[in-house]
């Protein structure tokens, strides 16, 4: 038992769990047929069993059962269920399309039903069930109320509200101006841009996977792997001093993690070239600046000429293509930075403290 717990604790460290989640994500997308049918049920049972067993562990329970964390547990299961539902319906439709038959939605879309009573009753029953659920939840679980506000005593850890914990988790890898301002802003901009970038006319108004593969994979990657997973890490696995703790680990305030992160400039100037750091910021950071410039400006052009992606460039046209790729590269900055951190202890690609410009 302890050995299993230790293994899970070990595997849940971001560098392993994130890699694992990438593998799982890849498998989920590749072998949908396995789990969009009965496999989904097996996975649900496995998840519930694992979760219930974990509840026996006092450390796990103390974090998961915090009143404010209960909704996040619910969210994890709901997201899992709806992911299953959406892909299950999509795959079934894909099979219908392949056989040249109308999709499930298509065969019903001409059928117009009176709103009264059908829709009104569904809504009525939903409302009652939701209200009952909410009342029961409210009776069972008291809203938290801690000590009166006191700016002199900071709790450790101090956490933002749970829906922002993905952003707070990004603070591990980026400075606040990126993690707290620019990236959230770009998430909103990116979401708004989706309908104008995605010109694929197919898959409008019905579930499908095949007809919109790229769009769906990109969206799921952002929503599941980056957004939801980061919230789960930030909520359940970050303890005092924002140190990482496995799900069965005790939140030890004394736990110390050595800070050994170095900048790209230090790696290149000191370790590789063996000369000291130049004093002016421009020569000092020139490698990082070039790297970022290549990433954001040269890579999109390379993409537009790459064989597999060329198709999109021609279909979408340059403005859409470059906006889309730009937003995509912005999103990928996060996992890229994570891996640089884990592999090289990289702190910043570019570190111009003079202007608070650190990437």
């Amino acid at each position: 038992m302890e050995a299993i717990k230790d293994l899970i604790n070990f595997l849940s460290y971001p560098k392993w769990s994130f890699t694992l989640s990438l593998v799982v994500f890849f498998l989920l997308v590749r072998s949908k047929k396995l789990w969009t049918r009965r496999g989904g049920l097996i996975m649900l049972v496995a998840a519930v069993t694992l979760f219930s067993l974990s509840l026996l562990d006092p450390n796990f329970r103390s974090v998961v059962a915090k009143p404010d964390n209960v909704p996040i547990v619910m969210m994890v299961f709901l997201v899992g269920f709806f992911l299953w539902l959406a892909l299950y319906k999509g795959i079934r439709n894909d099979e219908l399309i392949e056989r040249g038959e109308p999709t499930f939605e298509k065969s019903e879309v001409e059928d117009k039903i009176f709103t009264w009573p059908d829709l009104v009753f569904i809504e009525f029953i939903c409302m009652i069930l939701l209200m009952v659920g909410l009342v029961v939840w409210s009776i069972l679980l008291r809203a938290p109320l801690e000590e009166p506000a006191n700016l002199a005593v900071a709790p450790n850890p101090s956490k933002a509200p749970w829906y922002f914990l993905g952003l707070q988790e990004m603070l591990v890898y980026f400075d606040p101006w990126l993690a707290g301002v620019v990236l959230p802003g770009l998430i909103v901009v990116g979401l708004m841009a989706i309908p104008y970038i995605d010109t694929n006319p197919k898959g409008n108004g019905y579930y499908t996977f095949k007809e919109r593969k790229t769009e769906i994979i990109l969206f799921l990657f952002g929503f599941l792997v980056l957004w939801c997973q980061m919230i789960v890490i930030g909520t359940f696995l970050r303890g005092p001093n924002w140190n990482f703790f496995g799900p069965f680990e005790f939140w030890d305030v004394e736990k110390i993690e050595p800070l050994v992160n170095v900048d790209l400039s230090e790696i290149i100037w000191i370790k590789v070239l063996g000369v000291g750091l130049p004093s002016h910021w421009l020569p000092r950071e020139i490698f990082g600046i070039i790297l970022l410039a290549l990433y954001f400006f040269a890579l999109p052009i390379v993409f537009s000429k790459t064989r597999g992606l060329r198709r999109y460039y021609e279909k979408m046209g340059p403005p859409r293509f470059y906006t889309g790729v730009g937003l995509f590269l912005m999103m990928m900055l996060l996992p890229i930075k994570m891996y640089f951190r884990w592999a090289l202890n990289l702190k910043y690609f570019v570190h111009i403290q003079e202007f608070f410009f650190n990437v």
Partner: protein, 259 residues
């Protein structure tokens, strides 16, 4: 006997003045029932069978809307008790728990808020998976994204109101980010460039964080600012945009479906 009472009630002038149609028994009356009721006429008279399915919409837009209504009603009731000042706020919370009749109003409001955030995310997820943001619904997707931001802001501003340790430190962590806003935050890139005659324009007493929390640290000013935004400002905008959102669902041809 019962039949008679029922008849005399439903035939009375009072009843008929309220319910024009009665229980619909034929298609004409089904249509009239939808048209004659201000709430129901959010809906069209007929809907696509494919759009009616719960497995299609997951009912998530409706759930988000329902939770918004729950939040409005419970929030209003909380406003009767709650005073947004440093002296009272926390102790009003204690009283809401210990003294107020039917003392789960706070719970309903808080859990409803969490549930609403989740419902809105799932709704967005559904809309994406059915490709319902594609023409002609691009604009409504954008209205939705703004609603998503407003939902998060409502939840964020509300989080401060209990005025306990959880509240102020969560808002401290959140609002510290504003310090790093490019150009207009003291520690944001480029803010040092904004100078006038050698004097910095952006400092702790004038930057984005200062504007957000009405002071250099969280205090009474922040509380009243968040309270007004939470109970009046943002709900107004959100209610307006929800109206736009629903209007556009209708104008874009009802719930999406394959053409």
């Amino acid at each position: 006997m019962l039949k008679k009472i029922q008849k005399s009630v439903t035939q009375s002038q009072v009843w008929k003045s309220i319910f024009r149609v009665g229980i619909p028994t034929d298609n004409r009356k089904r249509a009239l029932a939808m048209l004659g009721n201000v709430v129901l006429h959010l809906h069209p008279i007929k809907v696509k069978k494919s759009g009616l399915r719960m497995s299609y919409t997951w009912c998530m837009g409706g759930t988000a809307f329902f939770l918004f209504l729950v939040e409005t009603i419970t929030g209003l009731l909380l406003m009767f008790y709650y005073r947004p000042t440093v002296e009272y706020a926390y102790f009003d919370m204690v009283d809401l728990r210990e003294v107020a009749a039917f003392g789960i109003m706070r719970e309903l409001h808080r859990w409803g808020a969490h549930a609403m955030v989740i419902a809105v995310w799932l709704h967005m997820f559904r809309v994406f998976m059915t490709g319902s943001y594609k023409p002609p619904r691009e604009f409504n997707w954008n209205v939705g994204v703004v609603l998503l931001v407003l939902t998060l802001l409502l939840s964020f501003t509300g989080y401060l109101l209990p005025w306990d340790q959880l509240a102020i430190w969560a808002i401290t962590v959140g609002s510290n980010m504003a310090r790093a806003t490019p150009l207009v935050g003291t520690e944001g890139p480029g803010s040092a460039l904004l100078q006038l005659g050698g004097r910095k324009l952006i400092h702790v007493g004038s930057d984005a964080r200062f504007a957000l929390i009405a002071g250099r640290t969280i205090g009474g000013g922040t509380l009243i600012r968040f309270y007004v935004l939470h109970c009046v400002g943002i709900p107004f905008i959100a209610a307006f945009l929800i109206a736009v959102h629903f209007w556009r669902v209708r104008k874009d041809g009802g719930i999406s479906g394959p053409v």
